[in-house]
Structures are given as structure tokens and as C-alpha cells.
Subunit: 204 residues, 2 copies
Amino acid sequence: MTATSATGIPAPRRGRPGYDRAQILEVAVGLFNEQGYDATSVADLAARLGLTKSALYHHFDSKEQLLAEALDDALSALEGVLAEPEATTGSPAERLDFVLREAVAVLIDRLPSVTLLLRVRGNSVTERDALERRRAFDQRVTDLVTQAQDAGLVRADIDGAVTTRLVFGMINSVVEWYRPTGSIDRERLAHDVVTIALDGMRTR
Amino acid sequence: MTATSATGIPAPRRGRPGYDRAQILEVAVGLFNEQGYDATSVADLAARLGLTKSALYHHFDSKEQLLAEALDDALSALEGVLAEPEATTGSPAERLDFVLREAVAVLIDRLPSVTLLLRVRGNSVTERDALERRRAFDQRVTDLVTQAQDAGLVRADIDGAVTTRLVFGMINSVVEWYRPTGSIDRERLAHDVVTIALDGMRTR
């Protein structure tokens, strides 16, 4: 919470508790994940931060704006994976390997905002927009799986969309139990997930 | 909703809307999944059923009793898989194949109660008991994975507990999108899930 010029983040204003937008967003996402977005009021969030509601509204227009920024954080990171050179060049199998590995990395690095994203059910325009972006991401991964099937690199006896859903189901399930402070580090987990997704648990 | 003597279920009493316990439980589980258990009141459920609260209390003592019965339905079915002869005899690989396939079948056949189970977070004694039974089930599957590793049938380069979590993460993710009325039938989906879990998406 110490604001230093080295971070490039402006120091908090005098007379206010020392939160910037990013810190408020972080606390909000934690609270949304803890007790549910719909069940969390602006008053709950203000209480958690030790701020008045009006001090909070100085930073954010609404609870929905906090949700929108958190969901955009998760979605932009996932979309960014597909924009990397390794996702657009090379064989479909290499690209798929890269996309799966980086999707796990995004999930680990942005565990709170991805967790929030995965719980979205479409109860507002913000949630429906996020679901639409998630579907577009899934569709682009499915296209990649289909290309890998056409190239004979991914099994063609299972529908590409079903394969994508199952593999991302496995990837996303990591938010239910993974804790960064635990015994499995980021690279190890990404390796484990990609290995099971590509080659399964059975020995050859 | 027609009560026949062939089902062995007593006909509804005269003068009450025609629900028996099982039907009330089904509607309750649907409502819990739709709007969240905590957010659903007994009054909401009575309204959905077109019953008075007192008529509802004739069948169930509390909202928590409905939850407990639904969670027990899902957990008993999963535990039942481990009690089958195919889960206790044969090679660890055959037993694991059977357990994964049957776990998918339980999930599909009891989609509403398994969905409810997977959303439990431990907010009450009933929820904590259910989580405890889920953990015990997971542990028994992990033991089976470890035996299969020791026999050289499952890759030993990934921790058995992590493998189990990832594979069940994939299995459980099916509740997010599978609809029995869709284009993929029960046997097809069980085949697809077990194939990806055991052998992965990549061709050999």
C-alpha cells in the first residue's frame, strides 16, 4: 500500500485511505468471489475497504463497473494468448500446445478475475457481453482444434467442439483448488494440465 | 404426475396439489440450481410449486432437509460406483476405466443433484458433511490412480492426486453445458470423456 514513484502509480490523495483503483478492484473481486457478485452490495465493499460509499464512488461509478473491469482483465488476457505469434504461426499442434499452456498461465496469474469470469451466468448486459467474448474465444480454440484434426494431429473420432469443451473444462477446474502458495508451481501445473489434455493419463 | 400403483409411490392426498416428496425435491433442486440455494427461500419454493408454505412443510421439515436429500442422492450414486464389482476386481486400469465411465453416467443421469453438489461451498453442517463425503470419494479414486501408477498403467510423472483432480475437473465440467435433449447421447459422452482422460486429444 506504500505508493512510490517507482511504480508509476499516483500516490493516494491526502485525507483518504490509501487505495488506488487497482487496489479497490482487487478487494472487490475477492469479495465477489467470496460471497457472490449478486449478494455483494456497494455497502459491503465499502465496509471491507474501510471507506465510505461516497469515497468508493469517487473511484468507480457502480458495482457493475467493477465487475466489467475485472471480466475485461480476464478476457483480455485470454484473447491476448490468441494474438501471440506462437498462436498464429507453426503447425496446428504447436499452436494448440502453446494456447493450452498459456491459458493455464493466464488462469494462474489472474486467478481471482478468471474465477469471477467462470461464475458469470448472464444476469446483466455486462455479464452477457463477457459470455459473448468467452464464446468467441472458445470458437477460435475450436477452430484450431478442427485444423489440428484435419492435419491428423488431433483425434477426429471426437467432435472438435466437445474436445475443446472437455479440455477447457479441465483447465478451468483448476480455479476450484489451485492456490499459488501451495506445493505445485505455475510451470509444473501448466505442464501437468497440457500433458493430460494432449496425451491422457494412461501410459503407452 | 399421474400416480399409479405400479410405481409403488403412494397417490397424492386428496385436496392437495398432486406432489409427492420426490416431485417436490425435483422442483426444489431445479430452483436451487437456477437462483442459488442461499438465495432461495421456502416461500420461493412454495410459490413455484403453487403450494402454501404449510403444505410444503407437510412434506419436508426445512429447506436444509431438501438440500441434504439432494446431496445424498448424488453422493450415494457416486459411492455406489465404487461398490460395484467392476470397481473392486480386475486390474487397476480396468477398474479406473469403469469408475470414470460410471461417474460420467451418474453425472448425466442425476445432472440436477450433481450440479447442486458441485456448487456446495461448506456454508452449513449439511454442506460440510457433503464436502467430507466428496473428499472421501476423491481419495478412493486417487488411491486407485496410485495403484494404477504403481502397476505402470498410469503415468507416474504427474502426482496421482493432481491427475485425479484434473480428470474429475473435466468430468464435472460437463454439468456446465451438457443437456440430455441435445445431440450427444449418454454413451457417446461417457466414451468421449473417458477417451480424452485416458488417452488425450493428440493422435499417436
